[in-house]
Subunit: 344 residues, 2 copies
């Protein structure tokens, strides 16, 4: 695992998420305290941000404010944001990356708008057709990185191969594994399963893609069978939300059953320390941070409902991507091998 | 809820599933004991079946044996089964339905082979292009019926509309609801979400399909938002297996946490009655039985790993489909409204 370079600036969309600066600023203060080389560029309305900043002079000196008057809401369509919200905190944070004033940016705002702005301002790396969204999913052992989670509803075999490159590059950054394993999501593990696009992608990956494991199925996602799972954005989005919904359903059942009788209520009290640990292990905040991969810059999306703890986790992920230089490594893997230069 | 007609024969593939007749025959004996009007046609090898039959004369008289020498294994490809296993217990059970000697058939065997045989022998109803696989999924309130779960990897808007008809007809049979609600699985609930095929299906369903709720998302599957969820077989298969995998992952975590210390092991003992009830509520055997819909006959697939309890649940589902006459009701909904016949 690489350590972050000495001095790094991260641009943060301070106005984003349900809690806005109330979650963002405590997270920023916390990470500044623990990471001496870090500086934060907070984008948003100064009159709202400033009263919330830490009093400590030393921390305050490492927070810079970039004024932005517009705020992107969860209901704004991407086209409206592109057209009518030119001075948004979200856009300013991405521009800071494009202009080299920040090494990465983080926002808890509207996913569609963030992707549209990031794609338009940063563009994709040469050899990448479309960016993809990738997030860690709790699994046995290490979390599984899955992509795409909704940036592309359909994906060609070429796109799926590109997703495999992006996902394994992120896995190197996040887990420090030299050759992460990668699987292609299908409805069975036999060669004959799946539609033609998947089978084409499978043949291409099987033909020498480092760490390629083959097909995986829905039940492999949480089993931790591979480090990276590649799929189209429609399937990935449905799978992710299905698991989230199942977790909610199950916690409802547990609550009901523990509330069913005086005896079971007593059991709930006794079991509560274990159940708390289970809840902590599955806390979505712990896995917070969806990476937008394939762009010429690092963009991380924090969940809209994030609290300060969750924003902090997403900031840590952002720093890992900076430390490893995910776009640089991805670009190097995409570039054709250089010709040998012969000294004359 | 309708009651099964007085005398009904169900054809059962006695050789199917990991446990074969060891699970099938106790399930058959149990249901015969509780349902006086029922008769069972057991298809398979008489020399294996006969020693396992109940001793009670009255039950034994309602079990008929149809000899079949071949057994379809889980590894057999559908084409091999069609070509080389003409005398399989699976094929005999479906033939009994085609020839009117049984009202429905049940098998715990290879899904692909069962679908191929059922499709070839029974054919689809007029107005149905392809059969679909539908199973109940545990959800808040009533289980949600989801289809397709893998018979069709891709689905046109016409197919999705047909799935909605099939699924709501099954919901009437199983839950006795006159107008079951139905949702179309997508990545968001806004009109603009999803690819073109989905949007076309959405417009057609929104134009007067009884009980149509609109788009639903992955997290709605277990929330019980609608009675029936319609999707293509690829997405449905991935979603179903993702949830199954998550359940396994979670039970692993619970085990780990309860085993973590002497205190938590004690908590496990105390909490065990509640955890047992939760496990029972989620027991896949309880929801066992995947209906093959759209065929000119009733075919139910029981899980390959089914024990006697699970096979019994699938038999009960089969009886519900017979009692309601799912293919008949589906055919009536597919037929154009009849012209009025004027008496002269």
């Amino acid at each position: 695992m690489t350590t972050p370079p000495r001095s790094v600036t991260i641009a943060v969309d301070a106005m984003s998420g349900d809690l806005g600066p109330e979650a963002v600023i405590p997270a920023v203060t916390g990470i500044l305290r623990d990471r001496p080389g870090l500086e934060i560029l907070l984008c948003g309305r100064p009159e709202i941000i400033e009263p919330l900043l830490p009093q400590t002079e030393a921390l305050r000196a490492r927070i810079h404010i970039e004024a932005a008057q517009d705020v992107v809401t969860m209901d704004d369509s991407p086209s409206r944001v592109l057209r009518a919200k030119k001075d948004s905190s979200m856009r300013r944070a991405i521009l800071a990356v494009a202009e080299g004033r920040a090494a990465a940016c983080l926002s808890s705002g509207n996913t569609g708008a963030l992707m549209a702005l990031a794609y338009m301002i940063l563009k994709t790396l040469p050899g990448i057709d479309r960016p993809a969204i990738c997030t860690p999913i709790p699994a046995r052992g290490r979390p599984t990185l899955m992509l795409d989670l909704g940036a592309n509803l359909e994906a060609s075999d070429e796109h799926l191969v590109q997703f495999a490159l992006m996902g394994t590059t992120l896995a190197r950054a996040v887990y420090g594994i030299e050759e992460p394993t990668v699987g292609l999501l299908n409805v069975g593990s036999e060669e004959t399963k799946g539609h033609e696009t998947l089978r084409r992608a499978h043949r291409r990956l099987a033909d020498g893609f480092p760490g390629y494991h083959g097909y995986v199925e829905g039940h492999d996602i949480h089993a931790g069978v591979v480090n990276v799972i590649v799929t189209d954005g429609f399937t990935g989005n449905v799978a992710l939300k299905t698991a989230e919904g199942f977790a909610l359903y199950l916690s409802g059942i547990l609550r009901e059953e523990f509330a069913a009788s005086w005896l079971s209520r007593l059991e709930a009290v006794v079991a509560s320390s274990v159940l708390k640990r289970v809840r902590r292990r599955l806390d979505p905040g712990r896995y917070n941070g969806a990476s937008f991969l394939g762009l010429r810059g690092i963009v991380v999306k924090s969940h809209g409902g994030s609290n300060a703890y969750a924003v902090r986790q997403a900031l840590e992920r952002t720093l890992q991507e900076v430390a490893y230089d995910v776009p640089g490594h991805l670009a190097a893997r995409l570039a054709p091998p250089p010709h040998e230069v012969t000294a004359v």
